[in-house]
Each structure stands twice: as C-alpha cells, then as structure tokens.
C-alpha cells in the first residue's frame, strides 16, 4: 500500500540478530574460550606429557602446599593486592567526592589528568619511582637535604603498594565519580531538610549509595594489582608475587603446566573477590538514577573548596610524578646518581625521532582495530546479557571476564600455542595481536555497556519496533545512540591502555608489526634508558591528546563521560 507517508521496509526475514548471534558465538568460542581453556587445561597435565586423559594430575597445584616460594608468592599477592586496593580507594574516594560535589574549577581537567597513570607503559613508571625514591632518588636527596631524614628503601612491599595504588586509583575515581554525579540530588536534599549536616549526609546517605560503584571499582583494582607484573618485578626487591612466579616458570623453565597452575590460582583469587562483591550487593537492587535534570548543589564553603583543591591536585601531582620524571630523564645528558641531571640535551629525541613513525602507526592501528572489535562484540554481548535473552548468560559473562583476569603473559603464550600450527594459523600476522588485545580488554566494554543498557527502558525498543524498524535498525538508531556515552568512555580506556600493552605483545609480534611499547622495551633491554624515556614521554603525550580529543568529540566534559 503506497500511502503518502511512505512504505514500510520490505518484510523479509530479519537476518540481523541471527547473523550477529552466530558471529559472536564463533568469536567467543574460537578466540576467547579455546586458547585460554587450552592453556588452563595444561595446569592439570603433568609437565612434559602431552595433554591426555591419562596424564591428568593435580601435581602442579600441589606445589602450593609444598613449596614455600609458592606459598609466599600467593600470600604476597593477596596482601599487597588488598593493600594496594584499599590505598587506591582511600586516594580516589575523596577525590571523586570533591569533583562531583564541591564547587571547584577545572574539574574536567582533573578528570582528564587522572587518565595519565593508566596510559603510560607500566615498567617505565616503576623505574621512575626508583629515580624518585631510591637511595639516591631525587626526592630522597631533597628530603634528606631539607630535614636530614632518610627515607626507608623503596624496594619491597611499600614501593610495590605505592606504585600500584598510584597506577590504578583512576579506576576507582572515574567509576565512583560517575556514580556520585548520576545520583538523584533530591535524596541528599531530603536528608538536609530532615536536619542532617553535610558530614552526616556523606556518612549515612552519599557513601552507602555509592557503595556498589565503589566495590565494583575496587574489584577492578584488585584484579589489576594481583595480575601486575611490571611493578613487582622492578620494585619488589626479593618479594615474589604470582605474576613474577609465572614469568619465572615460563621463561626460566618453559614449564607451561606450572605456569598455568599458578595462573589458575590467580583466577581463583579473582573469583573469590568477585564472590565477595556479589555477596555485598545481594540486598542492593536499587537504582539511584534520578528523574530530575537538576544537578546536585555543590558545596561552596571555603573549607570544602580548599580541601577539594588541595587533595585533588595533590593526588594528581603524585600520580603524574613518574611521567614527569621520565620526561626529565628523556632530556638528561649526564645523570650519575645526583639529585637532578647534571646537563640536558635534545639528542635522545633526535635519535629516536626517525624510528618512531612505524611503531606509532602500528600501535594506533592495532589498538584501534582491537578497540573496534571490543566495542562491537562487547556491545552485542552486553545487550544479550542485559536483556536476559540468553539462558546461558553466566557462561558468557565468565568467558568474557576470564581473559581480563589473566596476566598478559599467560594470554600471550596461550595464543602462541593455540594458533601457531594446526587448522588455524595466525602467528606472524596483525590479526593474532589484535585478537590477543581484544581478548584482554573486551570485558571493559562488556561491563560498562551492560550496566548502561540495563538502565535503558526496554519499551523504547518496543516503540521503535512498532514503528516498523527491524531489530538491526532499532539497535542502530535507538539503543546504540543512547548507550554511546558509556561505550565511548569504555572505548577510550581500552584504546589508551592498549597502546602500552607489552606482556602479550612481546610474544606475538612480528617484525612488520612492532609497536611503540616494543620499541621502549627493546631500548630498556639495551640499557638505553634515556631514549626509552623519550619514546615513553612522546607516547604518553600523544595518547593523552587522543583521549582529550575523543572526549571532546563526544561533546562531553571528561568528568561527565563516566556517569
């Protein structure tokens, strides 16, 4: 029927959902499940034997009961992980409150700056702490000159906890700040009218309501802390943790079985933490997203503003200190253990400039492709999960979260062994790198998209369908635009952390696909630290600019992206 208002699209069968569903299942099975299940399975196989039913054993796990080094590594991982998580929360919580609830200038800049620790190559940051706080460190010498007091050595647990908390607190800040900003301001006003002081409101209303977001972000920090290799390997001194133990087993013995067993224990730790989180959230099913467009009134008292500014800028200063030091080192000519360099030069930059373009382009392409894949896959699976369309939702959740939890080294080895020979050979291509990246980061997008989609009224999709839109059209025109800000925020995080990914890359890259993080690593290996610092600084600045541009493009202040 040809009415003046046009005709409905032809009513062929909508292949959209089916095609996407199959695509997702194939990708999930082939690239998420297979390599990692393969790798983890090795944990149950005796070292030296081929995987077969006859060689199944729990011997690899037995070492956790017999070898002191294993027990110590496990204990160290747990307690430094918890300590770093608590420290990160302690740093980030007041900051999140200040940015969301106190009238301070430059809030957007503060939020943007908190991304810096996340985007810098990890091992460079650890070296920076040695330069700052080591026995001959800049700060150590300065403090000693000022007060005569000598700082205790940075190696060992204190240094590790300090570096980890300053690297990962941004996760807590961004997520909790988003929760504060999105909360219904009338609730706090109601408490005010009932007679509560600001402190009372903070303690009885604001914090309890932000608890789910706080707990979720602390879980992320814990997972990252116990999976971190770079910091403990450089600052740990003699303290072993599970990731350094894995490294030891793989690169020292090529004992993949022992390494997988350790990785499996790492996963168990994470599951335990996730279980704790779920238990904590069991009675909380409330949504605090308000129905008003009025933003919360911010505190304007001088005391609050002073506290807010001092705390936020103080934290930012401490957090970007490593990057500042690296930048300093990149300009240093001679720096033999004195407080500051003796002379400066641009020579390091001149030397690395010519080698930069290839790796930068590669990093951008690989990180970009992986981010795109994460966004597509993550959004589709998030939709399926949030709309409860799958009966095996929990299996999908686990499959996606698992690789996020595993150290990069394990993922790298798993991919290498799974795709070097056999029916599907991918080594030497860019695809294997992109897939490994995708595997490690898709959980980010999945989680943030799932939360957002759950808050979008399903009736909007019904309305679109009644108007005549196919499922794909509804996704494209209704759901994706609404979920876009959250997806974009996740994509920015994914992209910027992928630029500096090293532990899986070093096992999978081919000469054609050398990334910027490999360039830095190879310079560090060759002892050319000043040049490594130069590339590191360039990478940090470039990524920061990209992040700012992306959030500006989305038309929002950085601070609002994480609501």
């Amino acid at each position: 029927m040809n009415v003046a208002s046009g005709t409905l699209p032809s009513s062929g069968r909508d292949w959209g959902p089916l095609a996407l569903g199959i695509g997702v299942a194939v990708i999930a099975a082939l690239f998420l499940l297979y390599p990692l299940a393969n790798a983890l399975l090795l944990a149950f196989v005796k070292n030296g034997s081929e995987p077969a039913v006859s060689s199944l054993t729990l011997a690899n796990f037995a070492r956790f009961f017999t070898a002191t080094s294993y027990q110590r590594a496990l204990w160290n991982s747990i307690w430094t992980g918890v300590a770093a998580t608590l420290a990160a929360a302690a740093i980030a919580l007041p900051m999140a409150y200040a940015v969301a609830r106190i009238a301070m200038p430059l809030r957007g800049l503060i939020s943007a700056m908190t991304v810096v620790p996340l985007i810098s190559p990890p091992f460079i940051g650890a070296y920076a702490w040695i330069i700052l706080l080591g026995r001959n460190g800049t700060i150590t010498q300065w403090l000693h000159g000022l007060t005569g007091w000598t700082l205790p050595p940075i190696y060992g647990p204190p240094g590790v906890i300090l570096a980890l908390s300053l690297s990962y607190f941004p996760y807590v800040f961004l997520i909790v700040q988003g929760a504060f900003a999105a909360a219904d301001p009338h609730i706090e006003e109601a408490a005010r009218m009932a007679g509560a002081s600001r402190a009372r409101i903070l303690w009885t209303i604001t914090l309890p309501l932000a608890l789910p977001a706080l707990a979720a972000s602390m879980l992320i920090v814990f997972i990252k802390a116990i999976g971190d290799f770079g910091v403990p390997s450089i600052l740990g001194g003699e303290m072993q943790v599970l990731p350094t133990l894995i490294y030891y087993q793989i690169h020292g013995f090529f004992n993949l079985n022992a390494a997988s067993a350790i990785a499996a224990v790492n996963v168990l730790l994470t599951l335990a933490a996730m279980g704790a989180l779920a238990w904590l959230n069991r009675t909380r099913s409330f949504v605090t997203v308000g129905s008003t467009s009025r933003a919360a009134v911010r505190a304007t008292g001088a005391g609050a503003r002073i506290f807010g500014n001092v705390w936020c800028w103080g934290v930012i200063a401490a957090a970007i200190l490593p990057q500042m030091v690296i930048a300093l080192a990149s300009f240093a000519d001679k720096w033999p253990g004195t407080m500051l360099p003796l002379s400066y030069t641009l020579a390091h930059y001149e030397r690395v400039w010519s080698q930069l373009t290839g790796p930068i382009v590669n990093s951008l392409i690989l990180a970009g492709a992986a981010t795109a894949l994460c966004v597509v896959f993550g959004t589709i699976t998030a939709y399926a999960s949030a709309r409860d369309r799958l009966r095996v939702r929990w299996a999908l959740d686990a499959t996606i979260m698992l690789p996020f939890v595993l150290p990069g080294l394990v993922v790298g080895v798993a991919y290498l062994t799974a795709f070097n020979s056999g029916p599907l050979v991918l080594t030497g291509t860019a695809i294997i790198i992109v897939l490994a990246y995708f595997t490690r980061r898709v959980a980010f997008i999945f989680r943030s998209a799932a939360t957002t989609i759950a808050q979008i009224d399903p009736r909007l999709e019904d309305a679109s369908t009644i108007c005549g839109a196919s499922w794909s059209a509804t996704m494209r025109r209704v759901l994706v635009p609404l979920a876009a800000p959250a997806i974009l925020a996740g994509a920015i995080l994914v992209f910027s952390t992928l630029i500096s990914e090293i532990s899986a890359t070093v096992l999978l890259y081919s000469a054609r696909w050398k990334t910027i993080s490999i360039s830095i690593y190879e310079l560090v290996l060759g002892d050319l630290l000043a040049e490594a610092s130069a590339i590191g600084t360039i990478t940090t600045v470039m990524t920061l600019l990209l992040v700012l541009a992306a959030s500006r493009l989305a038309g929002r202040n950085m601070a609002d992206l994480y609501r």
């Binding site: 219904d184 009338h186 609730i187 006003e189 109601a190 408490a191 005010r192 009218m193 009932a194 007679g195 509560a196 002081s197 009372r200 009885t204 209303i205 309890p208 309501l209 909380r284 099913s285 409330f286 949504v287 605090t288 308000g290 129905s291 008003t292 009134v297």
Partner: protein, 366 residues
C-alpha cells in the same frame, strides 16, 4: 503542631551564565499566616520552585529577606530550619527501610529508641503505612512512596511543610485523592504549608490562598475565589479556569468607565475595570483598544436576541456541564459558553445570540 508565620520580602534570584543574567525570581514579596495552606502556582519556569527552594534554604537568594515569626531565616542553614519537605520524586533513601526513612530525622534530634519507635509508628498509622514499615522503597507503589515522603517530613513536627509538585508523578485519579488527603492532614495538624504546583485546579481546590507566578514575578495572590473572580491581569484570567477574551473599543477614549463597544457595535458596560500593566498593554494596538474578559458560565445563549450574533460550532457534554463553542464576529477566537441546563433548539450549526452579563464581565484597559 504549631503554625509559624512566614514573611518574604523582595526576594530575588539571579543566574548568570557567561554574560547573560536571568532573573529566575524577581522581587517577590508575600506573607503566609500561621496554619495557612499557601500555594504557589504558575507555568513551568515561572520561579515558583526556586522560591520554595530559597525558603527551604537549598538555594541562596541574590537579595531579599525571608523571616519566620520575625526571625531572619536566611542566616540559618537548611538543616537547622526545622522544615519538612516533600519532593516531586519522593527522594526516599533507597538503601533504608520505610521505618528507617521516616526515623532519619528523629535520629538526628537525639531521641531515645523507644520514643523514636513510638513517633514513627504514630505517623505511619496516620498515613496508613504500617504494613510497609520493614520494606524498602522500591517495593512500594508511587502513591505509597509519596505518603512515606510526607510521613518523613512530618514526623519531627516541623514549623512548616514545603511540598514541591508532590503529585506530578501520580496518575490523575490518585492525584485527586491524594490532594484531598494532604489537605485533610494539613487541617488536622494546623501546620503552615507551602505548596507548589502548575495545576490550577489542584491549587484552587485545596488552598487557603494562591499566589500566581509568571516569569519570575508574583503577579497576583489571594483566595481562590478572589483569583478566579477578580483576576488582575490577562495572564491570571487565562491561567485560572477558562476565559473568553472579547476585543472592544472604549466608547470614550481614555475613560474606561464610560463603557465599551464590541466588534459588532453592541455596547457593554462591565462593572469591573482593571488597568493592565505595560507588558500586557502593549498588545493593544490603538489608544482606545481594550479587552473584555467573561467566564463561560457568565455567558448565555438565546435563540432570539442578545448582544452578539453567533453560530454554534460545537456542543459538548461534559458530565453535568454542557459546553457550547460558538463563532461570532465579536471575537476572532471561538467563544465558550457553559451551562448546566441544556438549551433547547440550540444545536451544532444553529444561529444564536450571546448575552453578556455586565456584572460578571471585566474590562482590561491600558
């Protein structure tokens, strides 16, 4: 419960973005007597909610004074003003039970456990909420949540009760029911109540006095019948109830008491004359132009003779009321006539005559 008296003088609130300053509330003054039910009414963006929030202390005034029983309110922070407030979104604490929600304010006042329990139980009983004491807000319906919100505001016996469009999120029938409940409660407790709404029927139905706001200014305040019967501006006339506006010309230019002439030449001598202020007067083109406002129930239709010839366009049956919409050359817009008795012989399409009762008409002039 006591009823405190409120006094607002020259209250102004300005918002500045960039180099543009907007007056959300512009030099508003009014008094509320102790125990009075006072409603601030107006379209969205008129400044009524901002005024309420300044009285609550949630917004800071740019200038002006707010006094309660002679005491300067503005020096007191909101949490010490001892006011109860009900929000449009209910704003219940989602992580607390209904009991804890209501007890929140009492706990802050240092009451003992048994006293708290007693007071909460009493107010819950008053609002028929006892069965829900241990549930969480998400388990309750909108109407129940609203009642919890009221209970929480009243339990600590505040000096004033402020309500910000409390019924806007409820369905029509529930709205009518709840407004009567609120009214009855207020009467019973005798508490000074400030109510904000955009629904004029709601305002006139329950209030002792109504203040009408437009674009940040308080344009008129008085009892519902004063507002309805003697609106001091075209805006108020139009906003409250239904109004017909007939363009007229003054018989003697400059002298409103000299009578007016309708478009078809018929003469009219409205008993009441109101001078328009500059912003409304500028719509009148010529020096002797004026407007006559007459309510639908003060017009009658006569098949044989009257002041204005007209043609009946539409007849609507609205329960006990019959509304005739007619067209005439006395006014560019259709005119509405309402009556409780059906008029025989006057159906759609019929030619008829309008009769204007001068005692009920109001002449608006510059």
């Amino acid at each position: 419960m006591s009823g405190a008296a409120l006094s607002v003088r020259n209250l102004t609130k300005e918002f500045t973005t960039g180099d543009v300053t907007v007056k959300a509330v512009d030099d508003v003054s009014f008094d509320v007597a102790g125990g009075e039910f006072f409603t601030m009414l107006g379209p969205s963006g008129c400044g009524k909610t901002t005024t309420l929030r300044m009285i609550a202390g949630l917004e800071r005034a740019t200038s002006g004074a707010i006094m309660q029983d002679g005491r300067d309110f503005m020096a007191t922070p909101p949490q010490r003003r001892n006011i109860g407030m009900v929000f449009q979104s209910y704003a219940l604490f989602p992580h607390l039970t209904i009991f804890e929600n209501v007890a929140y304010g009492l706990r802050l006042r240092g009451l003992g456990t048994s006293e708290i329990e007693r007071n909460v139980a009493r107010i819950l009983a008053l609002l028929q909420l006892e069965p829900y004491a241990n549930r969480h807000p998400s388990a309750l319906s909108g109407g129940q949540q609203q009642r919890v919100s009221i209970a929480r505001a009243l339990v600590y016996e505040p000096t004033m009760l402020l309500l910000d469009e409390p019924l806007a999120n409820l369905d029509a029938k529930l709205r009518v029911l709840m407004r009567e409940e609120i009214r009855a409660l207020q009467r019973r407790l005798g508490i000074t109540t400030l109510y904000v709404t955009h629904d004029q029927e709601e305002a006139t139905a329950v209030s002792d006095r109504v203040a009408v706001f437009n674009r940040g200014r308080l344009v008129q305040h008085g009892t519902p019948s004063e507002i309805y019967g003697a609106p001091q501006s075209l805006f108020v006339a139009d906003f409250i109830g239904r109004a017909n506006f007939l363009p007229v010309r003054l018989a003697i230019p400059g002298n409103p008491t000299g009578g007016a002439m309708l478009g078809n030449g018929a003469a009219l001598q409205p008993r009441r004359c109101v001078r328009l202020d500059a912003s409304e007067a500028e719509h009148l083109e010529r020096a002797d132009d004026a407007i006559v406002m007459v309510r639908p129930e003060h017009l009658s239709l006569d098949a044989r003779a009257g002041d204005i010839a007209c043609r009946v366009n539409r007849v609507q049956l609205l329960g006990g009321l019959i509304r005739y919409t007619v067209h005439s050359d006395a006014s560019p817009d259709p005119v509405t006539v309402e009556t409780t008795r059906p008029l025989t012989g006057i159906g759609e399409g019929a030619e008829s005559f309008l009769r204007v009762h001068p005692d009920d008409a109001v002449l608006y002039h510059r």
